[in-house]
């Protein structure tokens, strides 16, 4: 096995193996467990660094394992995969640090971090999947490994949330499976390739292709929380904050959105999807979701619930970008895949900090939080204004490209939708900022666990992750033109998608 085959496996193993070891660790082996976690996360980053370097030099990293004739597990590192892998690995590192601090002294940590590692392994698998079968394989693995995290608290309410989560995701998986098998029946094998592979079936199987597209998009749409398949997401926020952060920013929701990208661009091919008239309905769905999510967010008093609805709307930006025919929209979508992750994880980290430090769970309790926890609140504010699309933040960059893309694909109303949604974002984020910064704390906090020590407003492990991700939100925007920025990658990928299909 050469280095080029081994590297993708190593990237999986760097979280899988620690996970398996951690499962067997007794609860009290805190030190060893933490070391394993961080070491695994760090090693993964190093490997990915190697791979980025190689892919940029145009090297091919691919691992193949045949389960049945014609049915292969393929891990393949193309530009799109690298975008998602890098995002998830980087944010996993932050989240691990955060989770170590967050779960300080709570029970079942070995189980938690075990499934945590499995979850990331599955996400990375989804990212590097080289064909539809492999994608489905890790996609279901993701469902299974996240369930124990969602119900981790073991209370009745978390069990109910877990049930809803399963009901949605498993059904989605079943629908997806049908589509996948169907397509394999038609094509024999479905390798991801820029420009898509399904065009050979036109015109003989046009109707079947439409059915398959519907099945596949419905399948991934559940995890992407596209209305009306979004019901599970607000429920799932009963999970511990690091889990919500991972679910919303990296793992589940993103896997869904990423699935949409893969299906539209690399299975069907954007040209085919356009010619079959599949993009427009998708765009409409996305717009409905964007508006609906923002509206619902307005009325939520529970902070994490408000963030959850905001996720529903933000993730559909990606779907919208994919559905806008033309490279600019694509760039916007892919850039937002990364940017939304950075912003949303910052927000969830902060929400977790308020809950863990002050026992603040509701927006209405946040008066004066900014004075008590300035650093956290600053990070939160950056994420929030980013969501609104303020210039010099990640959100601005992606929204800019999205509305450009809308114009280019001459669906102007999509641009209006984006504008409206920005307004709504402002409407549900600004009150929070106002309360936190300009109101004074009314009396004592609901439940203050951690006293402030000097500049340390809360425990260090909880403080740094949001700060780092918050800074990142700005950096990716300021250095957007740098050749290593997510935006640059997005452009690179978009070019490939359209070059390969445009003669």
């Amino acid at each position: 096995m050469t280095w080029y085959e081994a590297l993708p496996l190593l990237i999986l193993a760097s979280s899988l193996i620690p996970g398996i070891i951690i499962f067997n660790l007794p609860e009290e082996r805190r030190g060893l467990r933490t070391t394993l976690n961080l070491a695994g996360a760090a090693i993964k980053l190093v490997f990915i660094g190697f791979m980025l370097w190689g892919v940029a030099r145009g090297e091919q990293y691919e691992f193949r394992y045949s389960i049945l004739p014609g049915l292969e597990l393929v891990l393949h590192a193309d530009a799109l995969a690298m975008l998602f892998v890098t995002l998830s690995a980087a944010l996993w590192f932050l989240t691990t640090v955060y989770a170590v601090g967050y779960l300080e002294g709570s029970p079942h940590r070995s189980r938690f971090f075990g499934f945590f590692s499995l979850c990331v392994t599955a996400t990375v698998g989804v990212a590097m999947a080289g064909n539809l079968f492999t994608f489905f394989f890790f996609y279901e693995l993701l469902t299974l490994s996240t369930y124990p995290l969602v119900v981790h608290r073991g209370t009745q309410s978390s069990m109910r949330a877990g049930q809803v989560y399963l009901a949605y995701t498993l059904t989605g998986g079943a629908v997806l499976l049908t589509g996948v098998v169907w397509l394999y029946g038609l094509l024999g094998r479905v390798e991801f390739a820029p420009g898509g592979v399904a065009s050979v079936l036109v015109p003989a199987y046009t109707d079947q292709l439409r059915m398959v597209f519907l099945l596949l998009i419905a399948g991934v749409g559940v995890k992407a929380a596209v209305v009306p398949l979004h019901g599970w997401l607000p429920q799932a926020m009963v999970a511990p904050a690091p889990v919500s952060a991972l679910l919303h920013a990296v793992a589940v929701v993103k896997a869904g959105a990423f699935g949409v990208v893969r299906v539209v661009y690399e299975v069907f091919g954007v040209e085919l999807a356009q010619s079959l008239g599949l993009l427009m309905p998708l765009a409409v769905m996305a717009c409905i979701t964007i508006i609906w999510g923002s509206f619902r967010a307005l009325w939520q008093d529970d902070l994490k619930r408000r963030l959850a609805f905001s996720t529903i709307s933000q993730v559909s930006y990606i779907v919208l970008g994919v559905a806008l025919y033309g490279p600019i929209g694509t760039v916007g979508a892919l850039a937002h895949l990364v940017h939304q992750g950075l912003m949303k994880i910052t927000l969830f980290f902060c929400a977790g900090n308020f809950a863990e430090t002050l026992g603040v769970h509701k927006v209405s309790e946040m008066n004066g939080a900014g004075r008590r926890m300035p650093l956290t609140m600053a990070a939160f504010s950056v994420g929030a204004v980013g969501m609104m699309g303020m210039p010099l933040t990640a959100g601005y960059v992606s929204k800019h490209y999205l509305s450009e893309g809308a114009a280019a694909a001459n669906v102007p109303w999509a641009a209006w939708v984006l504008l409206l949604s920005s307004a709504l974002n402002a409407a549900y984020f600004l009150p929070i900022l106002y309360r936190a910064w300009f109101r004074s704390a009314d009396g004592t906090w609901p439940h203050e666990h951690v006293k402030r020590r000097g500049w340390k407003e809360t425990s260090v492990l909880l403080l740094f992750p949001p700060l780092i991700s918050g800074v990142a939100v700005v950096v990716v925007a300021v250095f957007a033109d740098h050749s290593w920025s997510p935006l640059a990658w997005a452009k690179l990928i978009a070019d490939r998608q359209y070059l390969s299909s445009v003669p």
């Binding site: 394989f137 119900v151 209370t155 877990g162 998986g173 098998v181």
Partner: protein, 480 residues
């Protein structure tokens, strides 16, 4: 030169007889040794068959039609492998179980020995009358095992089971009689060329009788009434043996007859009917499983449901395109194997729960995640296989079956399978949901020997692993 075919039958017969000599509660060690040897033999046959050569053996040196012939082809090789591979961990498990909980061990080892011998004989036989004798052997051994803790409940269950299997084999025997009357032979190899689509009514009748009888023995809906009390009431090692292997024996025989003998006379409508019964079994079994308060009854009903998947093979393989039939057969084989491993693991885990907490109320499982983590993992992993999620063998089975359904243009079976998978998830996660609850709901948590938890876990792990090694397994199966 040792002939694995003959020894796969003689070995268990011998150790069963010796175990009987040793006395009602003894014989565990010799049984384990014997099964280990059998596993080696089964692997030997499997590798040979995978190499493309099938083994024959003419008992008494008399070839058919005068004598009885034994034949090991891909299908029988896989079933033999499954039987021994499940039996070995179960033997380890059973010894630990019965040392911890001596009630119900009376004559377990000799009965298990005869059961294994009978199943191996059944998988190898190529003579419809000899198959009848092996069927009866399997049936009586299973009944004896069910009755082993001789409480009113289990005796009643055993008696119900006995009557069911007797009717089943009676119908089968009548079928044999008609076949012999029509063709003058009972050897499969001789019969196969004689049975063609312009067969006399008697052949059709015989086919109907044999298949119906075997369905009764396989507990296909609506003939499933006897299964849940029998499998749910017996001691856990017995339940595991019955659910994982015994029903597969009669299912194997239906497939063998269908493919090797009755296909030409089988009307497509019949195949569709069988498929519908399978679907009904999936739905009914899952719904009933969901409603069971007791863990073991839940698992027993899940067996009723999983049997349904096996029978979806018939509509997909009867008078359809060869590649559809191929993937249908492969899917059925995968389903049989992975369900065998997973179900044995589940019943094993249930037994652990019972020994540790003294009950198997699903609603009172709370807290076992912290007390019996390995067992919870066992339940979860085997659950993954039953749900047909990756990377399990059940997933590959489902994939192949759906592929067969789509490529033979019978999309309605796809709906059945998808819905079945979701129903399965419903009852599997019912278990896990209660298991994950924090607060402990059992008075006692006894510590148990490791030999009790690990074999079940190994079985569950195997049911996942074959998902990744599917190609090797299906190479043994070869082309139908």
């Amino acid at each position: 030169m040792i002939d694995p075919l003959a020894w796969l039958i003689l070995l268990p017969l011998t150790w069963a007889a010796i175990a009987f000599l040793l006395g009602p509660t003894r014989g565990g060690r010799i049984a384990q040794a014997g099964i280990a040897l059998q596993l080696v033999l089964a692997l030997w046959i499997a590798t040979e068959v995978a190499g493309g050569s099938s083994r024959q053996h003419a008992a008494g040196g008399w070839r058919a039609p005068l004598g009885i012939e034994l034949l090991a082809d891909g299908l029988s090789a896989i079933m033999l492998l499954l039987a021994q591979a499940v039996a070995l961990p179960l033997a380890l498990y059973a010894r630990a179980y019965f040392t911890d909980h001596p009630a119900g061990i009376r004559h377990f080892w000799p009965l298990a020995g005869f059961l294994l011998a009978a199943m191996n004989a059944l998988f190898l036989s190529a003579d419809v009358f000899n198959l009848y004798v092996t069927l009866e052997l399997v049936g009586l051994a299973a009944v004896g095992l069910v009755a082993s803790d001789s409480t009113a409940k289990s005796v009643a269950a055993a008696l119900r089971y006995l009557f069911a299997t007797l009717v089943g084999s009676g119908a089968y025997l009548l079928g044999v009689a008609l076949l012999y009357g029509t063709y003058g032979t009972v050897s499969l190899s001789e019969l196969a060329p004689l049975v063609e689509d312009a067969a006399p009514y008697a052949t059709l009748l015989a086919a109907g009788l044999m298949v119906a009888g075997l369905m009764l023995k396989t507990a296909l809906f609506p003939f499933h009434f006897w299964l849940p009390p029998a499998h749910g009431g017996a001691p856990s090692p017995v339940s595991a043996l019955l659910s994982a292997l015994v029903i597969k024996a009669s299912f194997y025989l239906v497939v063998r007859l269908w493919l090797g003998l009755l296909m030409p006379v089988a009307p497509p409508a019949a195949a569709q009917l069988v498929g519908m019964l399978g679907t009904a079994a999936i739905v009914w079994g899952s719904v009933m499983a969901l409603r069971q308060p007791r863990l073991k009854m839940l698992i027993a009903y899940s067996t009723v449901a999983q049997i349904g998947y096996l029978f979806l093979f018939f509509p997909l393989a009867t008078h359809t395109a060869p590649d559809a039939a191929q993937s249908a057969l492969q899917g059925a084989a995968m389903q049989a194997v992975s369900h065998g491993l997973a179900k044995a693991a589940m019943f094993g885990a249930a037994g652990v729960v019972i020994l540790s907490t003294g009950h198997d109320q699903v609603a009172r499982l709370g807290g076992i995640t912290s007390r019996l983590p390995l067992t919870v993992f066992t339940l979860a992993l085997s659950g993954v296989t039953l749900m047909g999620l990756p990377p399990s063998g059940g997933f590959i089975a489902k994939w192949l079956l759906i592929d067969g359904a789509i490529s033979s243009g019978q999309w309605w079976w796809v709906i059945a399978m998808i819905a079945g998978g979701l129903l399965t998830a419903a009852y599997v996660f019912k278990i896990l949901r209660h298991a994950f609850l924090e607060k402990e709901q059992s008075a006692t948590f006894r510590r148990l020997p490791r030999m009790l938890e690990w074999p079940a876990f190994a079985l569950a792990l195997a049911s996942l692993a074959i998902g990744l090694r599917a190609s090797d397994l299906l190479r043994v199966l070869g082309a139908p």
